[in-house]
Symmetry: C2
Amino acid sequence: MKLATLKNGRPDGLLVVVSADLTRFVSAGRIAPDLQAAIDDWQVVAPQLSALAEQLDAGAISGQPFDPATALAPLPRAYQWIDGSGYLSHLERVRSLKGSKDEELQSTRPLLYQGGSDSLSAPADPIIATDPELAIDFEAEIAVIIDAVPMGATREQAAAAIRLITVCNDVSLRRLVLDDLQNGFGFFHSKPSTAFAPIVVTPDSLGDVWRDNRLHLPVRIEVNGTLYGQPNAGTDVHFDFADLIVEAARTRRLAAGTIIGGGTVSNRHDESLPIKRDGIGFACIAEARTVEKLKYGRARTPFLKAGDVVRIGAISEGQSVFGDIEQTVTLA
Amino acid sequence: MKLATLKNGRPDGLLVVVSADLTRFVSAGRIAPDLQAAIDDWQVVAPQLSALAEQLDAGAISGQPFDPATALAPLPRAYQWIDGSGYLSHLERVRSLKGSKDEELQSTRPLLYQGGSDSLSAPADPIIATDPELAIDFEAEIAVIIDAVPMGATREQAAAAIRLITVCNDVSLRRLVLDDLQNGFGFFHSKPSTAFAPIVVTPDSLGDVWRDNRLHLPVRIEVNGTLYGQPNAGTDVHFDFADLIVEAARTRRLAAGTIIGGGTVSNRHDESLPIKRDGIGFACIAEARTVEKLKYGRARTPFLKAGDVVRIGAISEGQSVFGDIEQTVTLA
């Protein structure tokens, strides 16, 4: 089934069930007021939501037209947002920029950081920056929302806790990344609000493209209508979502509703921007720039500036599976 | 007024008003189901809670006996937990252990890290560790719960957003701190669940001991009944809570219900453990050990082991203002 959270003037929004083709929705408010409440009581709530989805898809309920512009992030505020590093080629490409230290360690154990989860951006929210000189970048990622996971969880427990899947844009202020890394206290200032696609989907509804704890779909990224990348999120995965959850639960339990990011999707290739129509490209500007530095001696692709529009979506058979994130850069 | 969250089998517990002398409580469930709901709607809810507190204190409502053992953390799960570094003498004492880099930067701008806020420990919850060799330590801190703060907030906006004050124990696994610092991605594994005192208090109810955006009270720490420290949280403050909030909001807004920690309370002195009856001592073991290394050539005070009991409380006129945190170390 497919779920979304619509704006209703309250911080947590209204939970709705969306039709398989993303054109219609019906309120799920009588089953659970919001997505966190649904996850808190998933064993009871999920079958009811699923039944509602079947009625909607069968046409037994006509529903209302679904407009992604009315959606909040599926969890507009979450109790936890942990971002991992599943794709080593992302780390390899940006390492020189980031000054991060231990290559061997990073390939043995996934890096994780604790992101700010108190205000997650809606898919059409602007990227608000206080200063254009902060080197504003996007990072297109797959994210999962999980049920509660005990401390010291096994891979099996971790995999079984994955409830919902979507894509997100881990907005990054590259000029502040190095400061944050040098302080050693985490990406506090360099990672403003992460944005999420409007739709979350259960693993079973994704069918064959969700297997081995990863999403086997390309994530398409455009900036001002120009294709920057369409790397496949199921390719070149060094740590899958079960690995990331196990690592996150190493010294503490994870509450229901925790969001885990898989890291910037990144495939191994020798391309640079602009890419061809069938090229792979990049899911963040920093990677493209590092490649350009090595190839041409200097970075050519600029970071985002005010007015730029970033569009991110996972694509299956030409359709956006979770709806698109489409954000415009705005200076505060 | 004084508020607490009691266990009721639900993740967010039940909001109650506690009498000024901490002996009695009355449910506030008809005003707001839980503390987050109260903070979400503070302008409407706070006057009603305050009126209830007056009735309880005047004896117009008899209430029920308040037992801190029935309390959860005031926010058992929060949307954000940011820990700051208000006391430079803590950083100075532990810097050699932690391998953190930039002294000058740290005195100009407070360090902050994003803590895990998805499962905050109750005051009497055990400190659960998977391995006794992780060098289990406590950190006694003052914490504030704030209302929403815009990105780029001023000191005045920051100070005005402080709604509630309490103490917390930022449990730390020292052996993992260095790894986390070297990764540069933040204290992910080294900071398991932070514990909170049972009571939160509004600034106006604290009277004169809350001024200049800091709490002018000693925080008393005992381990197995032995006094380890009673540093004054209002002394040697380099960054007050307004400073910490301004820094936290530098590149992003902070949602209502964000918890900000002031950092390990630390006063400048030349003592070492054991301290005298009127000594100042330490609010974490790491500081005591660093002083011992310098003084005696080796650390003598052990980190916590299974069965050890840590008690932390802010003291005013012999009374524990927020109730005590009292945690027993337990191996998983």
